[in-house]
Symmetry: C2
């Protein structure tokens, strides 16, 4: 019998006709809103142009990715990375084109460090002489680089890294050495199999004046690991540029052990690596010496001119993560909204339909019509826009700060930016990471399937709450800044506010400082301070009051933290949970403020919104939905700060539910505006045309390699693939389980010729 499935269609109504009527039922202006969101750098046209190129090239197809062995994913990743580099030249891509292609391929690949941390270090930390030597090689991609900072034993605490760079004054060399297993470099992208050069971060060890540093003798070399330590002084972590592999054989150089650290949650195509040194010598010129260095003659340390330079670059990375979060969450929400508008499940329990006009059972409802689904998805839809406007604000702050530093060496805004970027990195990546999973779960069974497009998205993004400053750790930096600012305001009451934060804190103190400082709970503020005066902002009827409620709650927590730390001198560690909550409250206040300003004060702020009235009206509802939903999630903090009353709180959920009902008809058009191409979504559930079930079925029926094989299900036989025989199967699967056959490679015939000598 021929395959009869080709004749079949999904049950009515068809996905495409559902999305068509969803789109017809809303007056949100998609093109206008898309242009409003994605105007920068000609994003939309660029995206269209690059997608068209990538879609035609077989290795950029993503359809088989989830079937592959991890070593194959790396190989495909390397092939793609090379191809992107060649396409750049072929099509004359500029940097934005290249970044767009990288974004669309949606894979952290083996060249990812080349244009980021490797290039950044060379550019920013090198002397002019070093730049002249390395930049041409970098720009021609004659060398492939990575950035080796974190170690097996130390991640966030960079000062604690163990890798040593000991100065040998006799040979004028640095001796790189890993004294322990934990000193092994670890997690460094592109190091494991790809890079031939690395920026190595190591403790700079210089001889104590007058000590004997005859490190040429073998005995002294051994002491280098342990015994000689006391005669050297560490000047902290410094960057060295080091060739790590032979340029012809690609084997690690003698005295270096390198490898890939193995599979992880996401990033299958990236060879995160480990590396250890054994008394490995590099020349004096290896130390990147723009801001600090070692005098080759005297072995004396030359101090950095401005330590804030390093500090600044992490800040910029965090700002970029904040700016990126909106598009990640938009992907998940796009898939969820489209699929849940199409998916039908259960009839309304109270539905009383007329059996005469419509015989048969009551019609099933679109899943997105259920409030229990809306409460998970629609606030996240609103969050994409909240992230957008805060990303835009970060962009302004980023470029303003950067320009001030580069033009006039003015670092004054760096502290504000550092505080904002730390707290927002923590909050925004948590919102996006959790949001992806909330979307996935809302899609039920099909959300769990590979055709959802959610698996890679989730796995990859789950690194973001950890990297570039753990989300729970870096909130201390934001809180410390706020305490400092609150201290200044509290101790100079009455002065003119120098910025919005001053004003916000002053307003809070004007009402609350006395009741708190004179209260009987002074000895134990965080626990039993009297409830502050209830402001009870009119959050439901007045949007500006809603913003004020967020500011008030943040100010309250800042004031509590100031009291505890500055006035009562409590241990920092004991306050950490409160500090985390403070950072979150402040960051939520920033999100709400930026969103409010964008949709209510556009002309005042000088930026034209370019949105017609119906679209703007929906955006304002989304603002209210985001703010009230966020408030409800931390309602007790608003109550404790006196920002709202219990009575007011009771009306929040009904209002949220009402707002969701108003936003619901526009959901499909709103996600359309994010303009995420099908190529990037890689989702049968979320494609623009809504042909969900045909795509799901075809993917399983045509594109699933497992279905090309017939297996022997009989437990009495050890045979697995029909016809291979029991003995073959046994040998093959033992080797597979133990990882002895390279997961397919020994079998492929490639194994004998190309095995590494490592």
């Amino acid at each position: 019998m021929a395959d009869f499935t080709y004749r079949l269609r999904p049950a009515e109504p068809q996905g495409p006709s559902i999305l068509a009527s969803e789109r017809a039922g809303s007056n949100v202006h998609v093109e206008q809103l898309a242009g409003h969101l994605l105007w920068r750098n000609d994003f939309l046209q660029r995206q269209k142009r690059i997608v068209a190129i990538l879609e035609r090239i077989p290795i950029f197809s993503k359809k088989n990715q989830l079937n592959m062995a991890r070593p194959d994913r790396y190989q495909l990743g390397l092939a793609r990375a090379k191809s992107l580099r060649r396409l750049s030249i072929e099509h004359g891509w500029d940097r934005d084109d290249y970044l767009m292609a990288d974004y669309l391929v949606d894979e952290m690949g083996p060249y990812a460090l080349q244009t980021s941390m490797f290039a950044t270090s060379i550019r920013e930390q090198s002397t002019d002489r070093q730049r002249a030597h390395w930049l041409p090689k970098l720009e021609r991609w004659d060398i492939i680089g990575c950035y080796a900072q974190t170690e097996l034993g130390h991640g966030s605490n960079v000062k604690g890294i163990e890798c040593q760079a000991r100065w040998d004054g006799h040979t004028k060399e640095f001796v790189l050495h890993s004294p322990t297993v934990t000193a092994s470099k670890w997690w460094n992208g592109a190091l494991g199999r790809t890079a031939n050069h690395a920026i190595v971060v190591a403790q700079l060890l210089l001889p104590e004046p007058g000590s004997d540093t005859d490190s040429d003798s073998p005995a002294a070399q051994d002491r280098g690991a342990t015994g000689s330590r006391s005669r050297y002084k560490s000047y902290g972590p410094h960057q060295f540029i080091v060739q790590i592999r032979d340029m012809a054989t690609h084997q690690p150089l003698d005295g270096i052990v390198i490898g890939d650290i193995g599979p992880k949650y996401g990033y299958p195509a990236m060879d995160n690596g480990y590396m250890l040194f054994h008394q490995f010598r590099v020349p004096h010129s290896a130390l990147l010496a723009r801001y600090s260095g070692v005098d080759a003659d005297s072995g004396a340390y030359m101090r950095p001119q401005n330590p804030a330079v390093v500090y600044g670059s992490l800040t910029f990375v965090r700002a970029q993560i904040v700016m990126h979060a909106r598009l990640v969450l938009a992907r998940a929400v796009t898939i969820a909204v489209r699929y849940l508008a199409i998916r039908r499940q259960f009839a309304d329990r109270d539905h009383n339909h007329d059996q005469k006009t419509t015989p048969g059972p009551a019609p099933e409802q679109a899943v997105l019509n259920y409030p229990t689904v809306q409460i998970r998805i629609l606030p996240l839809l609103a969050t994409t826009f909240a992230l957008h406007y805060t990303g835009e604000a970060m962009y302004q702050l980023y470029h303003g700060t950067r320009e001030a530093i580069e033009r006039s060496g003015d670092f004054s805004r760096l502290a504000e930016m550092h505080a904002a970027s730390s707290g927002l990195k923590s909050l925004c990546t948590t919102l996006a990471a959790d949001g992806i999973e909330i979307c996935r779960r809302a899609m039920g069974g099909h959300g769990f399937g590979g055709a959802s497009g959610m698996i890679a998205l989730n796995n990859e993004y789950l690194s973001k709450p950890t990297v570039e400053g753990d989300n729970w750790m870096i909130t201390q930096q934001t809180a410390a800044y706020l305490i400092k600012r609150m201290t200044a305001v509290a101790q100079t009451l009455g002065l003119a506010p120098k910025d919005e934060l001053d004003l916000q804190f002053q307003e809070y103190l004007a009402v609350n400082a006395n009741s708190n400082t004179n209260g009987n709970g002074a000895g134990n503020t965080t626990a039993t301070a009297p409830t502050p005066s209830t402001r009870n902002f009119d959050i439901l009827a007045n949007d500006a009051e809603l913003v004020r409620a967020f500011r008030h709650r943040a100010s309250h927590l800042a004031y509590q933290a100031y009291r505890a730390r500055v006035v009562e001198k409590k241990p920092w560690t004991s306050l950490m949970i409160n500090l985390h909550r403070l950072s979150r409250a402040h960051s939520e206040s920033l999100l709400v403020s930026h969103f409010h300003r964008a949709v209510f004060e556009s002309s005042a702020a000088g930026a034209d919104l370019d949105l017609d009235e119906p679209t703007l009206d929906v955006m304002r509802k989304l603002f209210r939905l985001f703010a009230l939903f966020t408030l409800d999630a931390s309602a007790s903090e608003f109550l404790l700060s006196g920002a709202i009353s219990l009575q007011r709180l009771q009306a929040v959920l009904p209002t949220v539910q009402d707002l969701m009902a108003q936003v619901r008809p526009h959901a499909v058009r709103l996600v359309d505006a994010w303009s995420v191409p099908d190529y990037l979504l890689e989702s049968a559930l979320g494609s623009h045309d809504g042909d969900v079930y045909n795509r799901l079925f075809r993917r399983a029926h045509r594109d699933n390699p497992l279905n090309r094989w017939t297996f022997n299900p009989d437990w009495r036989s050890e045979e697995i693939v029909m016809g291979e025989g029991a003995e073959n199967a046994r040998t093959r699967l033992d080797a597979l389980a133990l990882g002895l056959d390279n997961t397919g490679y020994e079998r492929s015939g490639l194994a004998t010729t190309t095995k590494s000598k490592l």
Copy 2:
């Protein structure tokens, strides 16, 4: 140069010595607590015995799993499933032994349906005659089965499935038919590649009396899909047992299309499948007819004796999921506690150490000492015990209910059990699933790595919030039960309570009913009902009051729901969010109540706790920690219900922080008591001996197949593996990306001989 890494050790202090001193610093009685938790079915001895067997067999090694292609994972899964079956016979395993082995292998494999839904259906839904025919085949495993209920278009709403079983009175056969693509069976485990028999759930279509059902003619057959529908009446979903594949060739039978649906979030070794029928005929005996059937002569329907039977079996599955959750969460918490006790990061910010006695930098702190880490991990540690005691309570309820049904056909407790199991399934799987990810994130970079042991655990468990009743959907069932019970109590005030829930509701109503019913907000209870009388339970000083606060809040939400639905007749759909919150509140109240009873009223309840005083003391602290942490997370509901005051709430976080400091020294011993073997943990971070860094390093350096190959990193060349040449690489990677080479199989030489004819 020889591999110098073998000489190296991790930096001091070593993991094993840290865990030794952690263990020495607590007086929790590990063996006693382990026996207390895991006494049932001789769990601990059985676990030890089975681990020893599995650890010696190569295919049960898990170390290469994350490197494998998905088709290889299926094959390994099939080999393991067969091996477990053979081991059962070889070692004379009983059912508990087999289940233990399955639990330890920790993989949903291709035989998983055989002893569960396939066997259950045959045993429970068959007539005696059907049993006599099928049970011997089932028990000898001559047939391999699956359970085909859910479809591409319908999951939770079983009544909506489209697959048809039309009775043909002429031939006395049922005609199975899939009229649409969405009628395709979907997600059914073991169907895709393994099973040769299936329980197929289809709409039973019987001819309307008097209609022409000449279905033998080809024309009528075509109408079977569409036109003839009106002449048939559906009697709803029924189960049929169907042979689906040829027993010799293992090809699908003519008229059936089957395949695996492809990769998904977890379960790589399970072949979840799809299946469509084209006018496929099965005999009258295929309908499993214990409770309902079709008269072969008249074609008349015979009604089910008791519809609650089917309903009961889902309830039992949910109860089992609740009972299982504790061990899943215990695994994640074990890994997190051990690793975070070993991992050092940063010195205390306020540390002032004496440079004379301890020169050098201040010592780094164990990460688990930071309150921001404790607040994520230690409440979850407490949650493992909360889940345990509720699991035990469910076990009692389960067996009591089951016994009542089987012995005397008494279904009276089924409604209570259904409500409890639905709400608890939702809450407990959410707690466990979210808890796994919270643990993983708390472990920073290494938590993201494959050697954490968290990847598979997370991926697999993420199905649980969706399967067997979506966690947001089934809470309606609990809420409906609670509304029914509240209605009965509210309308019969003054009667003697028939159980604890009656008493709980009566207590609430005694204080609050009047203030609510007479309030001015009667028309809009959920939004603006007056705040109920503040009870302000003494949650911090009195454990019984803490339990009462949870019951009060649940009663309050039940009363609000009753008012809205029963008194004010609001639409069910509009109340769904409130109903979800009600179910959660009630379920949390159950967790807190069971935990409290177990550690405070053991003698009263008749079960001897068998714990010495120091251990019991820690358990009581864990109870307080769990309850107060849970209360804090939904604090606004407690405030709104009047269970506590704002003033009281302010003291909750400091109390939680204090409890965590008291529990912290016992954390390692507490997770030890869960007795999760290293074989199951499969984690370098969480192994019992604490040798974290050596394990992490060895795994990367020895056991990572990617490191056996040398790659060509030069972007100018299309060559990938060194030496293979550009042309080979291009062909190979194009095929890989498009899934054309079966992810390695074509290359292996196996491809040509065993390709399926599908």
